[in-house]
């Protein structure tokens, strides 16, 4: 029996790892906004997804937006967005800070899918830094995928593009 103990321990350890869920809330919306604006959060603003904005949003997301009104927080050239998109089955919430039309910071706030949470790590989200929106609505940065997390990567890419597009709309409105 003794000689099987290490093997049994290894099996139990592996099964524990396999059962670990990727789900989690990594940062609250309030904490994200506090960090983005150094504690001085601007008043919330609204953008309506109607007319051409809705059409372009649908083009970026590849489906109709789930809501018609999106909140954002902005001061001068900086804006912060908290957006959601379904990866495979459950929504992923991300916070994006944009400055002068470029992504300054992108963070996964909540991940509810059972797998693919590698997208929350810095090594992945750093790839979005300084990305801007090209005229064809694609990101200027090349984003390397993660095997096993394709849909989560795709969701983050869509939200990054959407935030940049909505920021452009906000700037043109002002």
């Amino acid at each position: 029996m003794k000689k099987y103990t290490p093997l049994l321990s290894l099996l139990i350890f592996v099964s524990c790892i396999a059962n670990t869920s990727a789900k989690g809330v990594y940062q609250s919306q309030a904490a994200f906004l506090n960090q983005a604006f150094a504690g001085d959060i601007p008043k919330v603003s609204l953008i309506w997804l109607t007319g051409d904005i809705r059409k372009t949003t649908t083009q970026i997301l590849q489906h109709k937006p789930s809501r018609l009104r999106i909140r954002y927080w902005a001061r001068a050239t900086r804006s912060a967005w908290v957006l959601e998109e379904i990866g495979k089955e459950r929504p992923i919430t991300i916070g994006i800070v944009i400055n002068e039309g470029r992504i300054e910071h992108l963070r996964v706030l909540a991940f509810r899918e059972s797998r693919g949470d590698e997208v929350r790590h810095d090594f992945f989200t750093r790839q979005f830094s300084q990305a801007k929106l090209k005229p064809d609505l694609q990101l200027s940065n090349n984003i390397d995928g993660i095997s096993g997390a394709t849909l989560s990567v795709r969701a983050l890419d869509k939200l990054a593009r959407l935030a940049l597009y909505l920021d452009q709309q906000r700037q043109s409105k002002n």
Binding site: S28, A30, L46, R67, L68, I70, R71, V82
Partner: protein, 259 residues
Amino acid sequence: MSQHKKPRIRKLRSMYIWHRYIGLSAAVLVLILATTGLMLNHTEKLQLDSHYVNNDWLLDQYGIHAPNNIRSYPLSDRWLSQWGERLFLGPIDIGESDEKLLGVLFYNDMLVMALKSEIWLLTPAGELIEKLGPNEGIPPAINAIGITKDGQVAVMAAHGIYIADQDLTTWQNTPAAITTWVDSEKLPAALRQRLLKKYRGHGLSLERIILDLHSGRIFGQYGIYVMDTAAVLMLFLATSGSWIWLIRQLRDRQRRRKQ
């Protein structure tokens, strides 16, 4: 008499006869198993999970009845109601929530619908504008929604009355606000009947029926054993069929050798 018995016994001992009769008796069950199995293999293409059965007898058999907790609120020209977890604006299905519906009102060309910890903003057609929750400053434990004397949206929550700004983006605790609260009312009979049909009709997917036909559960607790028997009979048929083929091959070979 004994001369008649002998061929009959021989007949009964013949694998060929058993194969024939078992094949015939299992045919109907095999047809059901094969057809439903084929359909289940292509559930997504056939969209079995998004087609629903409206047959009253079947719905009764499955025990799909109206929920006990139907809540409904009148708007100027229609009703908002909650059936179990499902929400309907008039006859339109607008979504699901496991939270209790507490009221709805018209405000700035929007429908403002209150649940226990969320406010949903909808277009008059029932399209979702935004869901407001604790992150959007909604006070905890709402138990009523209403309109103040000054025409502002108000909610009664655990810590008092909260009033929203014009865009419904911020909520202020205003204990002294004079508010007319929204009350629930009984759904008109005609709409109730229509929604009942819709609610029950959404409860039983075609996929469920096909699955239960395949497993035999649709015929009650003994149906499973009937389908088990069909599976055993199919195993027998496969074996007896192979056996008959083998015996015939051997006989043919022997006959050829003799010739």
